[in-house]
């Protein structure tokens, strides 16, 4: 029978929404028992939050001072040790999971299945390759655990409303000292989170400067949207890296996505192919973004966006 261990992503205070999404993905495996491992310095509140997620059987609370700022090098040996007895070990395909899970896979001597987008059976999965230009079905041997990351944009989070048991666990895994956390610089904002927002407004190279990118923030704020950007806009320094949407940025699935002054390169489109409705605003009628947009408007964004803000903003 399938026993799935999900490695919880968190910031020390709250769980990342990716945890509930991984639970939904894992529940696609028939009859699977789903447990969540919380590795933290003091994970009581986090474990309690995980225990509320519907579909979770047991939460493993692995407290250790070394987990204060969770690093792959220290987390991997703990996860590999907790994985004993599990048929599957899942993490999210966020930067946290992408950093950690392959290290776990190597310790368990298996390849990782990256970015599961569909479960076809306990050992059969679909995943994208070539920036989403091809979808492959992979079959995984069942003599060792399946280690995988879950493409979080493909799943809605499981709802709260559960009361799973919480078990304190400790591992005797030896933790290395060779890797040290220094700091995390994060552009704190009151805006919705890009990875889970229902509405996202993204700006591209066309914005021209950080000052002019304010137009995008203004419009986004007026409709309660998160803000994203193309790689070109990030590279040019208009906005920080955590706003990049695409193959090498964030893969998102909002209900409504605005691509403003973005040409629609394949690497950008990879990040939004599961969006509900895509609106494109671009002055070039031939821009590839219009091939995938549900609603397209050709014109100068500097004229259109203020007008749109007036028409849509409450």
């Amino acid at each position: 029978m399938a026993r799935v261990l999900i490695v919880a992503e968190h910031d020390g205070e709250t769980l990342n929404p990716s945890v509930a999404r991984c639970v939904t993905c894992a529940s696609g495996i028939d009859g699977a028992d789903i447990d969540v491992a919380v590795l933290a310095a003091d994970g009581g509140a986090l474990a309690a939050e995980a225990a509320k997620i519907q579909g979770v059987r047991t939460v493993l609370q692995a407290d250790n001072p070394a987990n204060e700022h969770l690093l792959a090098a220290t987390a991997a040996p703990q996860v590999a040790s907790l994985a004993e007895g599990y048929s599957h070990v899942f993490g999210p395909s966020t930067t946290f999971g992408k950093d950690l899970m392959p290290r776990v896979a190597a310790l368990l001597d298996v390849n990782q299945v990256s970015d599961i987008m569909e479960i076809l059976g306990s050992h059969r999965f679909k995943r994208p390759i070539y920036a989403g230009n091809a979808i492959i079905t992979v079959e995984v041997a069942d003599d060792k655990p399946v280690v995988a990351t879950v493409r979080t944009a493909s799943y809605h989070g499981a709802e709260p409303g559960n009361d799973a048991s919480i078990e304190g666990v400790s591992t005797d895994a030896e933790l290395p000292q060779h890797t040290r956390f220094v700091e995390l610089a994060t552009g704190s904002s009151d805006r919705p989170d890009l990875q889970t927002a229902a509405r996202v407004v993204s700006g591209g190279r066309a914005l021209g400067s950080a000052e002019k990118f304010e137009l995008i923030f203004d419009f986004a704020d007026s409709i309660g949207a998160a803000v994203g950007a193309s790689r070109a806009a990030v590279d040019a320094g208009y906005v920080p890296n955590e706003m990049q949407v695409g193959q090498t940025g964030k893969i998102i699935a909002p209900e409504l996505y605005f691509a403003i002054g973005i040409s629609g390169a394949i690497q950008h489109l990879t990040g939004i192919k599961d969006a509900g409705t895509i609106v494109a605003i671009n002055k070039d009628a031939e821009a590839p973004i219009f091939e995938v947009a549900d609603i397209g408007l050709v014109g100068d964004l500097f004229a259109i966006v203020p007008e749109l803000k007036k028409a849509m903003g409450s």
Partner: protein
């Protein structure tokens, strides 16, 4: 530091629009332009810059793949690497096997730093560097957009979902690159000529004694579902009406 090892994977060029063969047996690679994986080019550029600051003395590029991967290694030598190693294997070696083979080279060469790309843009796996670090029992610094060499250590900035994380690792270590680490240089013609004289060793994969991993097997390929082209509107009024129709406002 002494030596830097850089992985160069031969992949379909990022400008090629990759298509699944109509019989679902794989993606079309016949006659398609092949290049160095873009992230690996960035890894090599970073190694060159470290050497130019006199913080390293030798750069070795290594590729695991078919004989044709010599082209990518020659490009790497033309960019400025000192020597190259080709591990002759099939075109699609899995990440765990690649990591094990790289570990064999690491054990022979004892580099202070291994620089790899964060992901190969063909399989989009994003695993090899982390796996090599685990098997080697050494630190990993993934998705790096800034790197400073210290005394037996590295201080790096990593692009993470929340922003930029700074960590410090002891050497030797594995670093994987993100796109904003640097902009790779262009190769100049005289350098291409010079590169022809630089050493390129070939090793048969079997010689390394690494058994190919078969834990994950691809059984079929299909094209992605295409989004349909929608409607064009003439002005903001039309746009708002269309959003209203969809119940989005």
């Amino acid at each position: 530091m002494e030596k830097i090892l850089v992985g160069l994977k031969r992949v379909v060029d990022y400008n090629v629009r990759v298509r699944v063969r109509s019989d679902g047996s794989g993606v079309e690679t016949d006659g398609v332009k092949m290049s160095i994986n873009p992230f690996d080019e960035i890894a090599l550029e970073e190694a060159l810059r470290i050497r130019e600051r006199n913080e390293a003395s030798e750069i070795i590029v290594v590729s695991i793949g078919p004989a044709e991967a010599q082209q990518q290694l020659r490009t790497g030598l033309a960019m400025g690497a000192d020597r190259a190693i080709l591990i002759k294997a099939g075109a699609d070696v899995d990440s765990l096997t690649a990591a094990k083979m790289l570990l064999e080279i690491v054990n022979r060469e004892n580099p202070d730093l291994v620089l790899l790309g964060k992901q190969a843009i063909d399989n989009d796996n994003n695993q090899t560097g982390q796996m090599l670090a685990a098997l080697w029992g050494r630190p990993q610094a993934t998705f790096v957009s800034r790197l400073e060499v210290g005394d037996g250590t590295l201080k790096v900035k990593r692009e993470v979902d929340a922003g930029l994380e700074t960590i410090e690792v002891d050497l030797p270590a594995v670093v994987t690159t993100d796109l904003r680490l640097n902009e790779p240089r262009y190769v100049k013609l005289p350098d291409i000529m010079k590169a022809k004289k630089k050493p390129l060793d070939e090793i048969d994969a079997e010689e390394l004694g690494v058994k190919s991993d078969e834990s994950v097997r691809t059984v079929s390929w299909e094209p992605p579902e295409q989004r349909q082209k929608g409607i064009m509107v003439d002005d903001v009024e039309g746009l708002v009406a269309a959003l209203n129709d969809k119940g989005l406002i």
